[in-house]
C-alpha cells in the first residue's frame, strides 16, 4: 500500500484548492526512486499532515463555494482527493462533521474548513486505495490513480476519473491507448521530470551546503542544469527515438542559461536546440546537470559516476565492501590528477577489486568537470579519459564521454536496464526475479524507431501494472 509522496500531495492540493502549500513529511527512497511503501507515520509526520491541512484550509478562497460548500466538498473535492466517489458512509461522516461545525460556529465557511481538514488527513487520500476484481485486475479507478500519479505526478483529473467511471481502462488495449494519449499530453512532463530527476539523483544539485560550487552559479542556472536532462529525455520521447539515442544523441534542448557553460561545445543551434560537438558530448550521461550532480564540491567523482552507470544504466550495482577488513590505503602524492589518485588507491587489492570496475567507467567522463564544463587539463596535466571496464562478458576500452555513450547505447544490457528502471518507477516496489521475462520483452521494444515510447506504453499495459501486487505474475 503506497502512500503518496509529498510532491504528489502538494500538486493535487494545488489542483483542487488552488493553493500552494509545502508539506513537511519525508519520503522514502526505493533505490533512487521515491516510493512510500514501508515506513509508518510517527507523531512528527502526523503533525506535518495536520499543519499542512490547516494551512491549506486557511489559504483557500472559500468564496468559490459560498452557496454550497458541503456539496462541493462531497461531490468534487472528495472525488478528486480520494480518486473515486465517496461512499455512503463517508458522505454521512463528513456531513455529520459539517453539521457539528455549523452548530458550534454558525459559519458555513468555517464548517467547510473542518471537513476539508479531515479529508486532507484521511488515509483514503494519503494512501493508494487499490481495489482488485476476483481475477486480481485492478478496477478502473485504481488504474486511473496509478497512471496519473506516475505520468502527471498528481491525482487523476475529472476527465480521467470519468473514463474510469465509464469502464474505459479495463482492457490492456484501452490502457495502452490511454497511455499513448497521456504520453503526448503536456502534463506528462511532470511525471517524466520525477522519473529522470530521481533516476540520476539530480536533487544533489540543489543543496548549497553540499554543493556551494553549484549554488554559486545562481538559481536560474541550477534550475536549467536540473531541467535539461528532463527536457532531453522528453525531446527524444517526442521525436520517436529508441533507447540507444538516450545514450548517444548530441542534440539537446536550447537553454540560454547553459549557453556559456557549453561554450565551444555548441557547434550549431537554433531557437529550440543546441547541436553539441559529438566528439565531446553524446547521450544523457554527458549532460552538464548529470555529471555535475555526480560530483562533489569542486571535484569530480569517477566513483560516483561509475557507480551510477553500474546501478542506473546496467543494473549491476557494486557489492558493498566486506566488514571489518584491513583496507590500508597507500599514501597518495600531492598535486596529482584525479586519475592518478584513484589508480594509487586501487593498488589496495581489497578496494581495487570493486573500484576498478566502478571508477574505471567514471574515468571516461573525466573531461567533464564538477560543474559539467568541458576541460582538457587538470592541474596543468592533460587528462587521459581512456577507460577499460567489463561490459557483459567482454572487456571494453573507450575514450571519453561520447565513446562511452556509444558503447552503452549499443548494449542490450542497457536497453534492459532502462526498461527495468521505468518499470520500477511505475510500480513503486522492488521487483522480484519473476519480472525478468517482462524486462526482456520491454528491452526488445526499446530500441529503434519509437522505442522509448513503445517500451513505456508496453510496461504500463502489462499485467505487472494492471494487476494488484498480490496477483501480479
Amino acid at each position: 500500500m503506497r502512500r503518496l509522496t509529498a510532491l504528489q500531495v502538494e500538486r493535487t492540493v494545488s489542483d483542487v484548492f488552488g493553493v500552494q502549500v509545502d508539506l513537511n513529511v519525508a519520503d522514502e527512497r526505493l533505490l533512487t526512486f521515491r516510493s512510500n511503501i514501508s515506513a509508518s507515520i510517527d507523531t512528527a509526520s502526523a503533525r506535518g499532515y495536520l499543519d499542512f491541512a490547516s494551512a491549506v484550509v486557511a489559504a483557500t478562497d472559500w468564496q468559490r463555494c459560498e452557496s454550497g460548500c458541503l456539496d462541493w466538498l462531497l461531490d468534487e473535492v472528495g472525488l478528486l482527493l480520494f480518486r473515486r466517489p465517496l461512499d455512503d458512509a463517508e458522505r454521512t461522516r463528513y456531513s455529520a462533521l459539517y453539521e457539528l461545525a455549523l452548530d458550534n460556529t454558525d459559519d458555513p465557511q468555517e464548517a467547510a474548513g473542518w471537513v476539508a481538514e479531515a479529508m486532507l488527513q484521511s488515509p483514503t487520500f494519503l494512501y493508494l486505495d487499490e481495489v482488485a476484481t476476483e481475477a486480481g485486475v485492478l478496477d478502473d479507478y485504481s488504474l486511473a490513480a496509478r497512471l496519473a500519479l506516475l505520468l502527471w505526478g498528481r491525482n487523476p483529473d475529472s476527465s480521467l476519473l470519468a473514463q474510469a467511471e465509464a469502464g474505459e481502462l479495463s482492457t490492456p488495449e484501452q490502457l495502452a491507448a490511454t497511455v499513448e494519449l497521456m504520453l503526448a499530453d503536456a502534463r506528462t512532463e511532470t511525471g517524466i521530470r520525477d522519473f529522470v530527476d530521481q533516476w540520476f539523483d539530480l536533487e544533489r544539485l540543489d543543496d548549497p551546503e553540499v554543493r556551494p560550487d553549484v549554488a554559486d552559479l545562481g538559481s536560474a542556472t541550477i534550475r536549467a542544469l536540473r531541467e535539461e536532462p528532463v527536457q532531453y529525455f522528453l525531446r527524444l520521447l517526442r521525436s520517436e527515438a529508441g533507447v540507444e539515442r538516450l545514450l548517444t544523441d548530441s542534440t539537446t534542448v536550447a537553454s540560454t542559461e547553459l549557453e556559456e557553460l557549453y561554450g565551444a561545445d555548441i557547434v550549431d543551434s537554433d531557437a529550440d536546440v543546441f547541436e553539441l560537438d559529438p566528439e565531446r558530448r553524446g547521450g544523457i550521461l554527458s549532460l552538464p546537470g548529470v555529471v555535475a550532480a555526480l560530483s562533489h564540491a569542486h571535484r569530480t567523482s569517477p566513483t560516483l559516476r561509475g557507480k551510477t552507470v553500474l546501478t542506473g544504466l546496467l543494473c549491476t550495482p557494486p557489492q558493498p565492501p566486506p566488514a571489518n577488513i584491513d583496507t590500508t590505503l597507500p599514501e597518495v602524492d600531492e598535486g596529482v590528477s584525479t586519475r592518478e589518485r584513484i589508480e594509487q588507491h586501487m593498488e589496495s587489492p581489497v578496494c581495487g577489486n570493486c573500484h576498478r570496475g566502478m571508477d574505471g567507467i567514471g574515468l571516461a567522463l573525466e573531461k567533464l568537470d564538477w560543474l559539467g564544463r568541458y576541460r582538457e587539463e587538470e592541474n596543468g596535466i592533460a587528462i587521459d579519459d581512456t577507460s577499460t571496464f567489463p561490459l557483459g562478458s567482454e572487456e571494453v576500452t573507450v575514450q571519453g564521454a561520447a565513446e562511452l555513450g556509444a558503447v552503452l547505447g549499443a548494449s542490450s544490457s542497457v536497453a534492459a536496464c532502462v526498461s527495468r528502471q521505468w518499470l520500477r518507477y511505475a510500480l513503486g516496489v522492488t521487483e522480484t526475479a519473476a519480472v525478468d521475462c517482462l524486462v526482456e520483452d520491454l528491452a526488445s521494444e526499446a530500441t529503434g524507431a519509437r522505442g522509448l515510447e513503445r517500451m513505456m506504453v508496453k510496461a504500463l499495459a502489462s499485467d505487472w501494472f494492471r494487476l494488484s501486487p498480490e496477483a501480479a505474475p
Binding site: M1, D27, N36, S40, I325, V332, T432
Partner: protein, 437 residues
C-alpha cells in the same frame, strides 16, 4: 530546601510556573527520580590518531579532538575500544549500523520487499527498539511528551537516516530544523481567551474523530502488514492530539532561534533541548546531527571546502586526516556547547539540568575511511545525579557497544536489564562507569 525555595521564588517571578505546569510540581515532590537521558549522534566515527590522548589518565582531554571538552572533563567518561557486531557477513557501510546504534539489534536483511539501496542487497528497517523508547515504555513518564526527537539535516526516510525505533520497523522522525522545532514545541502561545482555546481544541478533536473513523473503515479491507501500518499512523494521530492538548499549557517560551545557518543551527537546537528539559516537556530525548548515509556536507568554517565529509573520510593521508580532525574537534565543540547549555539551565531541585542528565554521544562506525566497526567512539557525560563516575578515559577490550546501552538503562534505574539487543553477547553495564546506588 533552600534551593527549592529559591526555585519557587524564581518560578513565581516567571509567572507562576507551577500553577501552569503541574508536572513540575510532581517532580519537585518526588525524591529519587531517574536522571534524564539524551542520545546524541554525529556521523562517520572519528580520527583516532587525533582523538586518543597520549596519556589516558589525568588530562585526557588534551588530544586535538577532545580539547574543546576540557571544561567538562570531570563530567565525562570517554570510552575507547568498543566494537559493533553487525550480525551479517557483508554489510552496507553506514546503513547497517545506524539502526543498530541505539537498539543493539541488526537491520532486517530477511525483508524481500524493501531493497533500500543501490547495493545488490535487500534489507529493511531495524529489528530492535532504541533504548530511549524502551525506557519510556518502562518508566511511563508523565511528561507532556514521552520522548522528543530533535536533529539537524536528517534527510528522507531511509534506514541510514534514522536511529530511533519505537518498535521493530517503526522509526521516529527527528524535527531537524531549529525554527520548525521552536514552532512545534513553543510556537502556539496559549490563547488568553480560554473559550477560544476550548473552541480550537473541540474543532481539532472533532476533525480527528472523523479522520480516525476513516482509518477504522479502511483497515477492515487490508492485510496484516498494511493494517499494522495504518494502525501505527492512527496511533500517532492520537498521541499527537494528546500532546497538542497538553501544549495548551505549554512551557514559558524561550527566545525564538535567530540567525540559523549550517554553522549555528546545531547550537540553536541545543538551546531548545535545554529549554525542553528545563521546563519538563520531556525527560528523554535524542539529538541526531546529520545522517549516516554518506554525509557529504561541507564545513567551510573549519576549512572543509571541497569533497565532503563522507568523501574525505574515505582517505587516510595525513593532510586529509588533519582536516577531518578539525571537523571532529568542531563537533566536540558543539557537544561542549550542548553541555554548557544544560549546565546553565536551572533545574527544579535547585541544581542544573546537566546535574540530572546523562548524555551519550555515539556514531555509526569507528573510522570512516575503512568503515571500521572496531573502536566506535562513545562519550558519556552527566552531572552529579546521573550516577556517572566522570573524569575517566576508559580503555576497554572485547566489549560491544551494547554495553553502553545497558549502562544507560542501569543509570535510568532499570537495573534488571543485563543484555540489550539481539546482537548482545556480553552482559551488564560497563565496569566502573556508574556509582553504585
Amino acid at each position: 530546601m533552600i534551593h527549592r525555595r529559591r526555585f519557587l521564588a524564581a518560578a513565581g517571578a516567571a509567572g507562576g510556573a507551577l500553577a501552569l505546569f503541574p508536572w513540575l510540581g510532581r517532580r519537585v515532590e518526588a525524591q529519587t527520580l531517574p536522571p534524564r537521558l539524551l542520545l546524541v549522534f554525529t556521523p562517520h566515527g572519528t580520527v583516532w590518531s587525533r582523538f586518543r590522548p597520549d596519556e589516558p589518565t589525568g588530562d585526557f582531554t588534551s588530544s586535538p579532538i577532545l580539547t574543546p571538552l576540557a571544561a567538562h572533563r570531570d563530567k565525562l567518561v570517554v570510552v575507547d575500544g568498543l566494537h559493533m557486531e553487525v550480525g551479517t557477513e557483508y554489510y552496507v557501510p553506514h546503513t547497517y549500523t545506524m539502526p543498530l546504534l541505539w537498539t543493539g539489534s541488526p537491520i532486517d536483511t530477511a525483508s524481500p520487499l524493501f531493497c533500500r539501496d543501490d547495493h545488490d542487497v535487500c534489507f529493511g528497517w531495524g529489528t530492535g527498539t532504541s533504548i530511549d523508547q524502551y525506557i519510556a515504555e518502562r518508566l511511563v513518564p508523565e511528561t507532556p511528551s514521552r520522548t522528543l526527537e530533535l536533529g539537524y539535516r536528517c534527510n528522507g526516510l531511509h534506514p541510514a537516516n534514522r536511529m530511533i525505533y519505537s518498535s521493530p520497523g517503526a522509526t521516529k522522525n527527528p524535527i531537524d530544523d531549529p525554527e520548525l522545532a521552536f514552532e512545534q514545541l513553543f510556537g502556539g502561545e496559549v490563547d488568553p481567551d480560554a473559550e477560544a482555546a476550548a473552541r480550537l481544541a473541540f474543532r481539532r478533536k472533532s476533525v480527528l474523530d472523523t479522520v480516525l473513523a476513516d482509518f477504522n473503515a479502511r483497515r477492515g479491507q487490508l492485510d496484516a502488514t498494511d493494517k499494522a501500518r495504518l494502525d501505527a499512523h492512527a496511533d500517532s494521530l492520537r498521541e499527537l492530539e494528546k500532546s497538542l492538548a497538553a501544549s495548551g499549557q505549554t512551557c514559558p517560551r524561550p527566545e525564538a532561534p535567530t540567525q540559523v545557518d549550517a554553522e549555528t543551527a546545531i547550537d540553536r537546537q541545543s538551546e531548545l533541548i535545554a529549554s525542553v528539559f528545563g521546563c519538563g516537556l520531556t525527560r528523554i530525548a535524542s539529538f541526531q546531527l546529520r545522517v549516516a548515509d554518506n554525509d557529504n556536507s561541507l564545513y567551510p568554517w573549519v576549512g572543509l571546502e571541497e569533497g565532503g565529509h563522507h568523501t574525505l573520510s574515505h582517505e587516510n593521508d595525513d593532510a586529509t586526516l588533519a582536516k577531518l580532525a578539525e571537523l571532529y574537534a568542531w563537533y566536540s565543540g558543539r557537544f561542549a556547547y550542548l553541555l554548557d547549555r544544560l549546565a546553565a539551565t536551572p533545574d527544579v531541585d535547585g541544581t542544573s539540568v546537566l546535574d540530572n542528565t546523562l548524555v551519550i554521544w555515539g556514531s555509526e562506525l569507528g573510522t570512516g575511511w575503512n568503515h571500521s566497526l572496531e573502536d566506535v567512539p562513545f562519550i558519556l557525560a552527566g552531572g552529579a545525579n546521573s550516577r556517572l563516575r566522570g573524569g575517566q578515559y576508559l580503555k576497554v577490550t572485547n566489549a560491544l557497544t551494547n554495553r553502553v546501552l545497558v549502562t544507560a538503562l542501569h543509570a535510568m534505574g532499570l537495573t534488571d536489564v543485563e543484555t540489550y539487543g539481539t546482537t548482545d553477547t556480553g552482559s551488564g553495564p560497563l565496569d566502573g562507569v556508574l556509582t553504585t546506588s
